[in-house]
């Protein structure tokens, strides 16, 4: 019996070494949101069909997958929200543990959102405009009763960012800068899926809600939400001493790879360096996914089929030809 198990283990290990004898597998991170999966799908398809590398995706929380990138279990991270991660991102870059390859896109938005029906009402659903003069975040002050916190009814509730994200600390400071901390509780939603669920839930019921969110996400693609205004961005105001007294600058969403990766697959890094998209592209692809009830991979293929003008120039001609053949 013992020998049998030993034999089986040996065969198993042997088969493992056999499969990895070909081209090295390239591992992508799935930190848990759709736009990252969408970019993974594009890169995976191009790398598998064009360059002939097998690929794999490891899913996990942002922190866990990022640690994987530093440790080398993950090779490529297609969507790093740099300012959200803060030092978690910049420290390993400075230490040379990971390498920033390029900016994937930088036309995103973030801030405090409310459903548009809170401001304009929705006659079709029979929702009254509860806060008709709400335009800027500071206007929330006079409407705190609209956004009442049930656990502490003497104040309103603003749903903040995910605990541990850099933006969580920034938002806490901004609440004071806006002067909202007197009339509002800053509520920690715990996880991004919980934040998305509470926004969608309130929207379904037609209830008012004020919550931090960002684009591109399927939530923003699917619901009619309004980003509340803030002071125009300037470098002087966006400091900790000044309490981040202006709107968010569009953040660089970068592609990062492990430090050993360029050595292993230089031509892939070359391709990733050319990789550049926009939020609008991701939004439309994710909306396509939601409408057709399909997977992110289908959205990626859809993108490759319809937007040849964008991606063909990322890769040499022969590679592009191979990819085109494969997705036909």
């Amino acid at each position: 019996m013992k020998y049998k198990i030993l034999l089986m283990v040996t065969i198993f290990l042997f088969s493992l070494t056999l499969t990895s004898a070909a081209k090295d597998k390239i591992v992508f991170a799935d930190p848990g949101w759709d736009s990252a999966r969408f970019h993974n799908g594009i890169a995976q398809t191009i790398i598998e069909e064009g360059y002939g590398y097998p690929t794999e995706v490891i899913a996990g929380s942002t922190a866990a997958t990022f640690l994987g990138l530093i440790e080398g279990d993950i090779d490529v991270y297609m969507e790093v929200w740099t300012a959200n991660l803060g030092d978690t991102y910049y420290d390993p870059i400075n230490k040379g543990e990971i390498i920033e390859v390029t900016v994937n896109f930088n036309d995103n938005a973030e801030g405090i959102y409310v459903p548009t029906y809170v401001i304009k009402g929705d006659s079709k659903r029979g929702i009254e405009a509860l806060a008709p003069d709400l335009k800027n975040v500071v206007d929330l002050k006079k409407y705190w009763e609209v956004f009442k916190d049930e656990e502490e009814p003497s104040k309103g509730r603003v749903y903040g960012a995910i605990p541990g994200w850099r933006v969580d600390e920034i938002l806490r400071l901004k609440m004071k800068t806006w002067g909202l901390d007197e009339t509002y509780n800053y509520f920690s939603p715990g996880s991004d899926s919980a934040l998305a669920a509470v926004i969608v839930g309130a929207y379904e019921k037609g209830e008012p809600i004020a919550a931090y969110h960002w684009e591109p996400t399927w939530v923003m693609g699917m619901l009619d939400m309004t980003l509340l205004g803030d002071e125009p961005y300037s470098k002087e105001k966006w400091t900790e001493e000044n309490g981040y007294a202006c709107e968010w600058a569009a953040m660089d969403i970068t592609i990062a790879v492990n430090k050993d990766f360029p050595e292993r697959a230089p031509e892939i890094v070359e391709f990733l360096k050319n990789y550049h998209t926009t939020s609008a592209m991701a939004n439309s692809a994710l909306a396509y996914m939601m409408e057709n009830d399909c997977e992110t991979m289908d959205a990626s293929i859809w993108f490759l089929k319809t937007r040849e003008d964008v991606w063909v120039k990322w890769v040499p001609e022969d590679i592009a030809q191979k990819v085109k053949e494969a997705i036909k």
Binding site: S61, T88, Y159, G190, A194, A197, V198, G201
Partner: protein
């Protein structure tokens, strides 16, 4: 050939879609019902929280010391008081109290549901066959699967946290109550019948006192289960130690994670030993 290796599309069912539609229907039509539950749980929770936040820290430590001393021995009393003191010294006292409030409310609700249901199940084996798979589902279904719809119904905050904890922590209360009632010796019950006791008398005067230590073990298990849900609770907006753990995880901050994590362990040990002590104290002489 493919028919042998690929499961035929022909049999495809969209079970999940029906569940989703049902949930949407609930949101639109039974909003008031869930709002009422929410109000009730919230009221209870706010009371518990304000009481916990009102008790001075040293009073809590003294109470825990006395409980440990009277229920077990003086060494245990000192240990428990020491454990809580360390939590306070790490600057996590308020977080601990907030955690305790959620756990307490969840355990009370779980017992209010679990103990009577356990008794019913012990009396009615057909009901038992029905309840058992439900209990299995409650303990093995990944929490976020039912939490996302729960958030849509209850919003974010301590209420869905209590909801999640109750779902996960009720099964041991039901199971052990059931076991305890069934474990009462037949002779005793027969003697009761012989003296002309009613079913109610048999239950309250013979079965429940004898079953008490085992039921207490069930409540002890329920409490421990509730403690293990602390981090999940924080993922849906409950304040307390879980939130610190979450922050630490997201920042890969080992120091902060350890402090909050070990505090949860200390708290769990203290609660576990004290409830076990109560169970042992009232053990029925054989």
């Amino acid at each position: 050939m493919n028919i042998l290796f690929d499961f035929p599309e022909f049999f495809k069912i969209n079970l999940g879609q029906h569940v989703e539609n049902f949930e949407k229907w609930l949101i639109h039509n039974y909003d008031f019902f869930f709002d009422a539950i929410k109000e009730g749980v919230l009221w209870f929770l706010l009371q518990a929280r304000s009481v916990f936040m009102w008790i001075p820290w040293f009073a809590v430590i003294i109470i825990v010391f006395i409980l440990g001393w009277k229920l077990i021995n003086i060494k245990s009393g000192v240990t428990f008081a020491g454990l809580l003191f360390i939590i306070g010294a790490m600057g996590l006292w308020d977080e601990m109290m907030l955690t305790l409030a959620v756990v307490l409310v969840a355990v009370v609700i779980a017992c209010l549901i679990g103990v009577p249901l356990g008794i019913l199940v012990a009396y009615n084996s057909r009901l038992g066959a029905l309840v058992k798979p439900v209990l299995d589902a409650m303990q093995t279904m990944p929490s976020f699967v039912y939490l996302i719809p729960a958030i849509m119904l209850f919003g974010l905050g301590s209420v869905p946290a209590v909801f999640a904890t109750v779902i996960y922590a009720t099964p041991p209360a039901i199971r052990l109550t059931n076991l305890a009632i069934k474990g009462v010796s037949k002779e005793m019950v027969e003697a009761g019948h012989a003296f002309g006791s009613t079913t109610w008398q048999i239950l309250t005067k013979i079965e429940l006192p004898q079953a008490f230590p085992t039921i207490m073990m069930g409540i002890n298990q329920t409490t421990m289960m509730a403690m293990s849900m602390v981090v999940i609770s924080s993922m849906i907006g409950a304040k307390g130690l879980g939130l610190n753990v979450l922050q630490a995880i997201n920042r890969i901050n080992i120091a902060m994670g350890f402090e909050a994590g070990i505090s949860i362990v200390f708290l769990a040990i203290t609660i576990d030993r004290i409830t076990q002590g109560i169970a042992n104290k009232y053990k029925y002489p054989k």
